[in-house]
Symmetry: D2
């Protein structure tokens, strides 16, 4: 029935499944990592076909994951590319894309007391197959803060400070090496200060002082992230969005920019 | 079928509808107010009845709202009590409750330049009918900020600051006069400073200076709200929860307390 | 300070405020409507200016809303265009856009018993000012359902059914008359059946029978909405996304398409 | 400063951190499991102490997690109890509780074709230390569906069907063995049919037929879960909430119940 002609002949761009959660393992730098990502897998549908065989999409995911015990993919991108290839064996398409949303935990040290701390970031990893070419889209969401330089000047050394979140998105060819950890670093360096899960008294003092020595609008942060990413990653389309949860208002402020490297 | 005996004889405490959105009007202090609240309406179900006639609950809401053009309820509580009465005519219960979640807009002036500004708060208004007695539960969610007094001392006059949200919940007899605007004031006075939608440069300076003159932990804010509410409202069960979106961490801090007045 | 040169010279595309909630009134078909939308207002920022004066954006919103008592805008779009004009007097830009997210309540009758019912839909209304030209983007989110025609055939007259939500987005010139209520109708007609807040027994029977007489995949629904919108609205870019909350799976299925009219 | 007397002398019930995400490992049935839960850790605060030393709470979590490589906790509860013990060494309390929200992936087979499938459920695991006694609260959120028996009868074999979600909560002594997988089974058995991530055509037919052979209101589902849990787990307080995302309405229906075993 899915292969019959539809009543309305109109091509669709993205048809598939979304919000599927399952266990995936990858083998990154010699260590096994496990994730329970939320997965979206879609493909285009020509105007003369009524529907997608959705179970073939799910099956391509579950079969790829079962094989993983032997196959040992080195990254979520590699696993995603493999799934897109397996889908193609079961179901024709011109363009397909797969997205995995998950969390990445990074080991760090606190800035002064050098205690161990783990920092967790949201990451969104996509691979797109477009008429035989493969591209990838990587997004990291990193928390930090903004410190208003204008209020700091007007109020003689004090200012309003608040949590800010920044999304860095990179679209590039599949083969271009772009590491999520490096993307996170591009964002962290742009905030007035990095933030940490654990901060002892001396660490907290250090972070607070760094914040006030380096006051920044969301506009400054967004530009710095653009600049950091442009220098580090070549051949990419780069998008940045920073949102600051204003401590003196009920609303947020936002700054968005795009560039190519 | 709903009135038949269920296979498993177990009384249920709350059965009904949730997430229903519709237009309601009330007549508060001589002005007509319109809201599109999200409504939850539930009742208990004895063990020997299989189910609720859900459409009678919906009908009680829609009929009450239609009448409103003439009836002119003075508050959401009054409208809710009316709906609970109408439900009872259609459907027996021992205990029923209705909740409306909506937003309240309050006219204010900015602190220095005295410009007009409108401040919007989430409010949750419930009436409970329990074997003929009526109680009400009122919740306001108010945004503000926290300023760490400990970091302020350690870092010589600077500190980490962040947006904080505070929920004040009051459970009391239906007849006890408790005004949502007064509840909001109990919370706003407990923050280091009120926050505003509009702030010109001089207003912003005022707010920032007030915040640093009155640094407060979430614990301080929660205790002050408890205390403010205890003094203002008598014969109530009072609950307060404050959450601070830390600007130096990825996680939040929380402080909760309860008392009776 | 906002007008000074930034360290990193990079133009930004969208800088402003988001999540601001305030009361707005419009005068639609002779009736006054009140909303408490969530507002986003952004503009571009040239590479040689460090920042936006955020308070001028807020002021443009609040001043426009105050005037409303006399000005009587006929639609959210008209109010938004007015706000964009007022912003321009205070703050230069090449491109700016304003979005209001709110809910629209429509009076309906139940299909058989002809009882009054009110149906509430999310709407997202934007106006974009781009170098003197004005465009608008209108989005409606409408709930309905999907009924799997494949399972219906395989299982002899029964099937899996589920709630579905559909977003219809229209981008067109500001002057092109596109009514939100008509957009909602384009979506409702594409579902197996309309859904209602109130349904008496005979209404429910009617809706269930209609659903099974007209089984449809999300692909069918998306194509029908595209087709309905293409026929009704000329000179538009049309986007449709349907998501079905599968009752036999833990994940959703999705179908998206785009066309021009 | 935290140990000084507060201005307002009022005891607080729950003070601490929330929304902290970090990597934890447990050793369940001989296999290592990794999770990135969202953690909330709170304690009571007597009226004469101004605040909590929040960094000691974070440190208790991070240190416990580092040890895990050797300690090999057998469950999230065991790890949580260990964290509460470590907190007590650093910070006095009478009552403290720790919650971890995470996802559990269970291997299953599809009902007819016997293909492998992985099913993912949200779980919420808490341990409470109260004046030396330990209790635990376990919650599972399981997706399924509801099929209206009333419409099925009125419409001659067809009905409205929809996704439903059910929360089963169990509060019991720490030592009482309650397995999350068994809790999930108590819920799945109460739905008209289990749902699966993967379903081939024959599996789908089986699930659809099972759903229509066993039509059930949310009230029926809630009662069955109560009953299943009461029989399987002794010495527990049991709470159940089922929410059905109605396919013929814009709102949901809800049924909640409580019992002791």
């Amino acid at each position: 029935m899915q292969d019959s002609k539809p009543e309305v002949m109109e091509a669709l761009s993205r048809v598939g499944i979304t919000g599927l959660r399952t266990l995936v393992k990858i083998n990154w730098n010699g260590n096994e990592y496990k994730f329970i990502p939320e997965i979206e897998l879609t493909m285009d549908l020509p105007k003369e076909k009524r529907g997608i065989h959705m179970s073939r999409l799910v099956e391509s995911i579950t079969e790829s994951i079962e094989e993983e015990t032997e196959v040992k993919h080195d990254s979520l991108e590699e696993l995603e590319k493999h799934i897109l290839g397996r889908v193609k064996e079961k179901h024709p398409y011109n363009r397909a894309e797969i997205l995995m949303k998950t969390a990445l935990v990074i080991n760090r040290e606190t800035p002064v007391t050098k205690k161990k701390t783990m920092e967790t970031h949201d990451v969104f990893v996509s691979v797109i197959s477009d008429n035989g070419d493969f591209a990838k889209k990587l997004v990291v969401r990193v928390l930090g803060n903004s410190v208003c330089p204008h209020a700091l000047k007007k109020s003689d050394g004090i200012s309003h400070v608040q949590r800010a979140e920044c999304f860095l998105e990179i679209l590039t060819g599949y083969e271009n090496r772009v590491v999520l950890e490096d993307m996170i670093e591009c964002v962290e360096k742009a905030f007035p200060s990095e933030v940490y899960t654990l901060l002892k008294v001396e660490d907290e003092k250090h972070v607070v002082e760094k914040m006030f020595q380096r006051p920044r609008f969301v506009e400054d942060i967004t530009r710095d992230v653009l600049n950091n990413a442009k220098k580090r990653f070549k051949g990419c389309e780069i998008g940045v969005k920073t949102v600051s949860e204003e401590s003196i208002h009920r609303h947020d402020v936002i700054a968005e920019g795009f560039c190519r490297s």
